[in-house]
Each structure stands twice: as structure tokens, then as C-alpha cells.
Symmetry: C2
Subunit: 260 residues, 2 copies
């Protein structure tokens, strides 16, 4: 008797027509029963946004050769919520998000729709992995990325992963010969420094384009940014407990647990 | 000679016309040089979304009796970025976000535009506090909330706070007699359980409204949800290092630091 296949939900933030989600489906389609629920338009930078003030649309589409697929008008987080409640009617065994066209290492985890979809799944108790390639081009080469995806998903499915497991995986742009493997890392302390580009429209009104420069403030070793520079794919386990426990102890000492 | 007044940036996610931001400005206007940069429309549930695919608009408005104020077409996170780069041209000493009409305790920290604005400030090295009242009505009574705001902001300004300090403050709906004070807490482990309301539009097409039920899975004490139920305002220090360090150690043990 064949064991029941694991149920895998796939989503992304670049939209259902992106090459990255196609590569992700291709990499794991034989490893389980795969469903795709993904945005019908690009949703990069949407973070953990949800759609509460307007209704959502969802349509079944033929995209991935016999895999049940839906496109949704909402954000990546909306897709995960809709998938569970209206498509799968049950918790999948695993959620995969990506492969994102562009880096989601370090602080990008908080801006990224790819990672927010994976985080939403983890909050709902679905072990989850977000995959991103540092190649942000439309025609990004996902050869190495697909191998990393497959390797990690097989490990994930073979092990009993702890509850609320969430991994942020980034894949460097290197040749197969220079690819070093997969490294467990911590998030680099970094930020984006904005420099808005102010312009004037034909009616004489000002408008602003956001232009950012990535600043890595982290000089210590063991970070995802460092591993990627060395030619590794980086794996950062991500928390869904946002309490700063160190600062909590500090405040309790300085202020007292109850502030009168 | 008078000491230089601290510079305070105020934003929110309910929009610049909400009563909550007016209450926040009123509570601290004499404590520093206050600037307001806030969304020109409600942005609840926007999480850490940023606007990268379209330009942003920003207009100076007269709203708060002599306080320099700008409304912005973008998300709460956009407001913080624009404020620093295009309005203040420098890092403020403190960023305050809110007062939100509605709870942002426990897992809501990740969906909330109020908390995402505060988090963005903390990422940029600006100590920051997000304030939310459990009263989500338009005409919420902010009497107790304003006292909590003032008390915490005075403490914040009197102490040298650690870098990247970020507090999530929620205020219960209780009478002044029943209000117990302010308690340092950790984030309750909770989630939203969705139950989409599927409807059909006049053209025969399906659409979906997101309807959620809050589920607190946390049975241990010390959480924000518990403190609020007891009549305390909850203060949860929030991290901007999203690495799950416990799971990192587990993975390094199970998989090895470098996965061949």
C-alpha cells in the first residue's frame, strides 16, 4: 500500500505567471500532492498586508500541467488564508513560497511578500519555507535554486520538523562549480537607506519614487549576507515570537514589571 | 539656556483624520518638537508593505494647531521613510505610531500598519512606540490611553533607551477606577482563524470577504492578552532580529551547519 502523499501548498509574491513559481513547482511536483494559490499580479514589497476593506477574487487557472492552481486578487498572505479555507479545506503538510526573483536575506524578511506568505503559514502551524534567488531578472537561471529547493524539501518531509518551523532560504548567483552548498545562518543586521527621487508631473504636482540603498551594519560572522557572498545558499530559521526577550528583562529591571 | 527639545515623529495607520492620532499629538505636543507624517486614507492591515511600483504623493496640511503635518498617499512604512528623508532630513529622537483604533496585541503585531510604522523606525535606529486601544470604534475614548502615552514617553525621553528599542503598547477598555497600570509582557501565541464569506456579485461572479476569529493558543501567564484582560495596559518589547535562534541550534545539531 502506498503511503499518503504529503500535501504541499505553493505560493509567491511575483505573481502566478513568474518563472520563479514555475521553477518551484517543477522542483517538487513529484514529492507530494501540489496545489498552487498565487497572486494574479506582482505583489513585491507587500509585507504582511492583508485585504480587509475590499473583497477578494479567486479563479481556477490551467498553468502547471495538471496541478490544481488558483490565481487570487489579494496579497501573498491573503493567498495562504484563502488556500487553506476555500481551496484545500484543510491544513497542508508544507507551504513553499517563491522562488522569488531577488534577495530576501537579512531585514528584507519583513518587507518581502514571499516571506510573509511563508510566515502566515507558520503562524497557522504549517511548516514553511520561503525561497529567493539573488538574481532578480525576469529570466533568472533557477538551476541551482531548484536543486536547493529539492534537497531541503526532501529533508523537511523526512524529518518531523518542530511546530511553526519557518525557513528563509536565499540562493546566490554563482556557477555550479562555485556553489558551496547550504549553510545555516542568522539574519544580518541591516537596513535600507532611502533617497527619494522627487519629480514634478505634467500638472505641476510633486511626486516621489522610493530609491533605496542596502546597508549591512553587521560586522560579525555567521550571517546570511556573509554566507551568500561566500557562495553558499543561506538558511535562516525565522521566529514568529516577536517579543524582544532581552529587552523585556532590561525593562523589568529598570522600570519594574508593573509600572505604577 | 533651554535644552534642545527632542524631535518626535508621529504617524499612524488609520489615516491623518482619525481621532487616535489627534489624541496622540495632544498627549505629547509639549514634550518635544512634533512632526506628523501620516497616511491620507485608512491603511489598517497593511503590515510592513512599501510602495515600490508606483510613485508617492505628499501634501502639507493644517491639522494640529501649528504642528508641521503632512499627509501621504502611501503605507505607514512609506510615511516613516518619507518623513525621515523628505520632511525632517534627519533622524528624529523618537517615533510614535497610533493611537490605533483596535487591538494590536499578540500576533497582530505582524498585520498592523501601526506597529509596522514603529518597526520601520526601530530598523532605522529610531526608538519607537506603537500605541493601540482595544476600543476600535470611531469615537473611542482615549482618556486612559493619553495618560499611558504621556507616562511612557516621559520615561522614554528621561532614559537612554537601548538601540532599536521598539514597544508595542495596548490599552484596555476599562473605567479609570478599574485601570490597573502598565505591565511589561511577552507576546501571546495566537492566530486568526479565517472563515471566508463567499458571495456572488450581480454579474454572477464569486467574491470573498475575509472574516477572522481570534484564537489565543497561549495558556501560560505573562502574556499581553492576559494583562489586558486583567485591566492593565500591556507593553511588549518587540525584536527586529527575526532569527529563531533556538531552531538555529536545533538545525545545526540535526543537519550540521553546512548541509552538503
Amino acid at each position: 500500500m502506498e503511503a499518503k502523499k504529503p500535501v504541499i501548498l505553493i505560493t509567491n509574491d511575483d505573481g502566478i505567471t513568474a518563472n520563479g513559481i514555475k521553477a518551484l513547482v517543477d522542483a517538487v511536483r513529484d514529492l507530494g500532492q501540489v496545489y498552487v494559490v498565487a497572486p494574479d499580479s506582482p505583489q513585491s514589497g507587500m509585507g504582511h498586508a492583508i485585504t480587509i476593506g475590499s473583497p477578494l477574487r479567486m479563479h481556477k487557472v490551467e498553468m502547471f500541467d495538471g496541478i490544481e492552481s488558483w490565481e487570487c486578487s489579494g496579497t501573498p498572505v491573503d493567498c495562504v488564508k484563502l488556500a487553506r479555507d476555500m481551496v484545500m479545506h484543510a491544513k497542508p503538510d508544507l507551504c513553499l513560497s517563491g522562488i522569488n526573483h531577488g534577495a530576501n536575506h537579512s531585514i528584507n524578511v519583513i518587507y518581502s511578500g514571499t516571506m510573509s506568505a511563508a510566515m502566515e503559514a507558520a503562524i497557522e502551524g504549517i511548516p514553511s519555507i520561503g525561497f529567493s534567488s539573488l538574481d532578480y531578472s525576469f529570466d533568472a537561471d533557477f538551476t541551482i535554486a531548484k536543486k536547493v529547493v529539492r534537497e531541503l524539501v526532501i529533508r523537511f518531509l523526512a524529518n518531523k520538523m518542530p511546530d511553526h518551523t519557518l525557513l528563509n532560504v536565499n540562493i546566490p548567483v554563482v556557477s555550479e562549480a562555485d556553489f558551496k552548498g547550504v549553510k545555516i545562518c542568522r539574519q544580518a543586521q541591516a537596513r535600507w537607506e532611502e533617497n527619494f527621487d522627487k519629480r514634478t508631473d505634467p500638472r505641476g504636482q510633486d511626486y516621489y519614487w522610493m530609491v533605496g540603498k542596502f546597508v549591512n551594519m553587521d560586522k560579525e560572522s555567521g550571517t546570511d549576507v556573509e554566507a551568500l557572498k561566500q557562495g553558499y545558499a543561506s538558511v535562516v530559521p525565522v521566529t514568529i515570537d516577536f517579543t524582544n526577550h532581552k529587552m523585556k528583562s532590561w525593562l523589568e529591571k529598570e522600570w519594574g514589571q508593573i509600572v505604577e
